[in-house]
C-alpha cells in the first residue's frame, strides 16, 4: 500500500503511475488491438458482466 512521505504527494491532487517502456506487440497485432503495449491492453468483454479485464 503506497505511503506518502514528506509533503509529496500533497492532498487534493491525483496521480497516475508512469508507464515503463518494456514489451511491445508485433505491429500488425498492435494495430488490431489498439495499442503497442501489453501493459495498456484492456479489452472490453460485455459477456463478462460488462467489466473489462
Amino acid at each position: 500500500m503506497y505511503q506518502p512521505s514528506g509533503d509529496w504527494p500533497m492532498l487534493a491532487i491525483a496521480i497516475v503511475p508512469y508507464q515503463q517502456y518494456g514489451k511491445t506487440f508485433p505491429i500488425d497485432e498492435a494495430l488490431y488491438k489498439g495499442t503497442l503495449f501489453p501493459d495498456l491492453y484492456r479489452p472490453y468483454k460485455p459477456e463478462k458482466g460488462g467489466y473489462h479485464d
Binding site: W8, A14, I15, P17, K33, G34, P43, Y44, G50
Partner: protein, 210 residues
C-alpha cells in the same frame, strides 16, 4: 499546420447495412464525449500549457482524435451507403435523413448538434488535464455502450480499437498531469534544508511513481 494523409488510422470493415446503428454511432461524431469534442478540446488547450511536452502531447492527441472523427464518419457512411429509402424510413436515421440525407453530420445520437459548450480550455493546466482525463473515460464508456448495441463484427472491431485508444490517452494525460504538477508545485513548495526537488524525485522512484 494541418495536412492530410490519404489513409484511415484503422482498416474499417463494415459488414452490414444498418441505419439504426448509424444513428447511434453519430454520438461519437458530434456528441459531448465524442471525437470532434476531443480533438477541438485538446487542440484548443495547447496555447497556455507551461511545458513544451504538454504542448506536444495536446497537439498529437488532438490530431489523432481528428483521425478518429474521420473513422466514425466512415462507419456511419458505410452503414447507410447502400441502404434503401425504405430501410432508412423505418429507422431512427430518418430524422437525420430529413435534414442531411445519407451524409454523416456532427450531432449526437439524440440529434443535439455539436457545440463548443461540450468542451473547455481554462488556461489552468491542472483543470484542463483533469477535463481531458475525464473525457477519455467518458469516451471509453460510450464505446462500451455502442459495442453492446452493435451486432456488426467489423463495426465492433473498429469500436474496440477506438475504445482502447481512450485507455492509452488517459494514461498519457495522467503522466502529463504528473509532470505539470511537479513543475507547478515545486516552485511553490516550502523550502527548508531537508526538502529539495531532487530528493522528492528520488522518493518518487522509491515508491514506483516514475
Amino acid at each position: 499546420m494541418f495536412l492530410y494523409q490519404k489513409t484511415l488510422q484503422f482498416p474499417v470493415k463494415v459488414e452490414t447495412t444498418n441505419p439504426a446503428l448509424a444513428a447511434l454511432i453519430l454520438e461519437q461524431l458530434g456528441g459531448a464525449d465524442g471525437e470532434m469534442a476531443a480533438g477541438m478540446r485538446y487542440l484548443t488547450q495547447r496555447y497556455y500549457m507551461p511545458l513544451p511536452e504538454a504542448r506536444a502531447l495536446l497537439t498529437d492527441i488532438g490530431t489523432e482524435e481528428l483521425s478518429h472523427w474521420e473513422i466514425i464518419a466512415t462507419i456511419v457512411w458505410k452503414l447507410v451507403e447502400h441502404a434503401t429509402d425504405e430501410q432508412i424510413k423505418n429507422s431512427p436515421y430518418a430524422q437525420h435523413f430529413a435534414n442531411h440525407g445519407r451524409n454523416p453530420f456532427p450531432h449526437n445520437a439524440a440529434g443535439v448538434p455539436f457545440t463548443a459548450a461540450f468542451f473547455n480550455a481554462k488556461t489552468d493546466p491542472i483543470a484542463d488535464l483533469h477535463e481531458n482525463m475525464a473525457a477519455e473515460q467518458k469516451a471509453r464508456a460510450t464505446y462500451e455502450h455502442l459495442i453492446r448495441m452493435s451486432n456488426d463484427r467489423g463495426v465492433n472491431q473498429t469500436l474496440s480499437f477506438l475504445r482502447e485508444r481512450e485507455v492509452v490517452h488517459f494514461q498519457r494525460f495522467g503522466e502529463m498531469l504528473d509532470k505539470v504538477q511537479d513543475y507547478i508545485y515545486s516552485k511553490h513548495r516550502r523550502r527548508d534544508d531537508n526538502l529539495d526537488y531532487h530528493r522528492i524525485r528520488q522518493e518518487h522512484d522509491r515508491y514506483g511513481m516514475r
